[in-house]
């Protein structure tokens, strides 16, 4: 079997290349969708269909989450097809702010990643702190909620390693990934966060992340749909309860497992 996970440690080169902006702007898309439905002027309906169905749909979602958690195993890992080409510069860029979010060092000081919440030793890591920690690299599929996939090599630190470093307390069942991309954040179940392929990524395809792809660091795991993988990270908070998320609060499944 040649299809083993690629755990190379690519050399990190600083210059980064431009990424194409993703064709579909989700906020515009959301506005258009709700606008189109508004013109239907159906009191009984909203963008989710008949309102009375909403409870049934949410019941199904919670049932699906239970099943997805049963199906979830740390031993199930993503191995891209050997024939799959790396997307490279075709990898879409995506953020919710009006412009590409760039960390404002003048206003906020040097970027640091905070690891806090239910931990014994809260961490505050600079990019060089992060990149001096044990490095893990995988060639991974990216599964977007829209249905497309893209392959990229992701390099960073396993979140499980960071959790060990911070000493996560037993009551922590959820992890919230927060960002400086407006109010974007997404919270996860801790099992998915501790999956061996869940990485705090600072390099893609051998280059430090560029701003379009979530610099300076992002979370990435193939076990979650794209929107669960917060870019432009500022804070990783270990929590006793789930904390919703940007898209989870707007109708997308909270679990978003792959």
């Amino acid at each position: 079997m040649s299809r083993r996970p690629d755990r190379s440690e690519p050399p990190i080169r600083l210059p980064s290349h431009a990424a194409e902006r993703v064709g579909l702007d989700r906020r515009r898309f959301l506005a258009a969708a709700s606008g189109a439905l508004g013109t239907l002027a159906l009191a009984a309906c909203d963008s989710m269909g008949p309102r009375s169905a909403k409870g049934v749909l949410m019941f199904a979602e919670s049932g699906n989450e239970k099943l997805e958690r049963v199906l979830f195993h740390h031993s199930s890992i993503d191995v891209p097809r050997s024939s799959a080409a790396t997307a490279g510069s075709h990898f879409p860029a995506y953020f919710v702010s009006d412009q590409v979010p760039v960390w404002d060092e003048a206003a906020h000081g040097v970027w640091r990643l905070e690891v806090s919440g239910m931990v014994n030793t809260p961490l505050s890591l600079s990019l060089s702190d992060l990149s001096s920690l044990p490095r893990t690299g995988y060639k991974l599929d990216h599964f977007c909620v829209e249905g497309w996939t893209a392959v990229a090599t992701r390099t960073g630190v396993r979140l499980a390693d960071l959790a060990k470093l911070a000493g996560v307390r037993p009551g922590a069942r959820y992890v919230d990934f927060q960002s400086f991309d407006s109010d974007y954040h997404e919270s996860w179940d801790i099992e998915s966060a501790m999956h061996p392929q869940t990485l705090i990524v600072y390099a893609q395809d051998g280059h430090y992340l560029n701003s379009a792809w979530g610099a300076p660091a992002r979370v990435y795991s193939p076990v979650k749909l794209g929107y669960k993988n917060t870019k432009y990270l500022t804070k990783i908070a270990f929590l006793p309860e789930r904390n919703g998320g940007y898209w989870s609060d707007r109708g997308y499944e909270w679990y978003g497992g792959v």
Binding site: L57, E68, G147, G257, V258
Partner: protein
């Protein structure tokens, strides 16, 4: 005379609703990325890459709405399908549906009759050979839709299944094909009901059927001998 058992009638109409919502919401999900190619690649086998499906054919309003419907209705579709299959197996109806010896020849005779090459309606049991083939294929394509759907729902946790289909991109493609086949079978079925045997409609609602109005009795092909008064007895009777 009851033509269809209540279980068959109920699962038929539940299936109509579930399949309609599954296809509509599936097409809405597809429209979020109406293509099959992995980013940075091209795809060999779909001529309409990046052309969305007309919105009027979709259901769910937006991507999240469509996904919520799709992932809820999949249970209705799946459980309904299992109830139907279990019932026709236990109750014996499967005998009217599985292809018998000579099905290809019988089907050819039906086609000849519909094309007016053959004058008289072939002798049949509950269903003619083309119906048998269609009603036998429907659950198989349905199972194909469910299995390919699971493969694109869980391409990491159930990677073995996704890999069996050639990976995520191909599993998504087979899922799309399963939908297309279901649409083709359904359109053919509905067309034939209305143009050949509209008298069978009560049989799938109340179960009641008048054998004297069967297509075989009327010697009916699409649009021909639709009215009962036009019927002529099949040759030899």
């Amino acid at each position: 005379m009851k033509r269809h058992h209540a279980v068959v009638r109920i699962t038929h109409w539940v299936n109509v609703i579930a399949l309609t919502i599954m296809i509509g919401s599936g097409l809405r999900i597809f429209n979020a990325y109406p293509a099959f190619a992995r980013r940075g690649e091209s795809f060999c086998c779909y001529p309409f890459e990046h052309q969305p499906i007309p919105a009027a054919l979709t259901f769910g309003g937006w991507l999240a709405g469509a996904r919520n419907w799709h992932f809820a209705m999949m249970w209705v579709l799946g459980i309904n399908g299992l109830v139907y299959l279990a019932f026709i197996y236990l109750h014996g109806e499967w005998r009217d549906l599985v292809p018998r010896r000579g099905i290809v020849r019988d089907a050819r005779e039906m086609v000849k009759f519909y094309l007016t090459v053959r004058k008289d309606h072939p002798v049949q049991g509950k269903h003619n050979a083309l119906q048998r083939l269609a009603y036998f294929s429907m659950p198989i394509v349905g199972i194909m839709a469910v299995v390919t759907g699971i493969a694109i729902w869980k391409p990491v946790q159930l990677a073995w299944l996704t890999n069996l289909m050639g990976g995520y991109v191909w599993a998504r493609y087979w899922h799309f094909w399963a939908m297309l086949l279901l649409v083709v079978l359904t359109v053919g079925h509905v067309f034939m009901v209305f143009t050949v045997d509209p008298y069978s409609i009560p049989s799938i609602i109340t179960g009641k059927y008048r054998p004297e109005l069967s297509p075989e009795a009327r010697n009916a092909r699409p649009f021909v001998h639709l009215l009962p008064t036009h019927h002529e007895p099949p040759a030899g009777s």
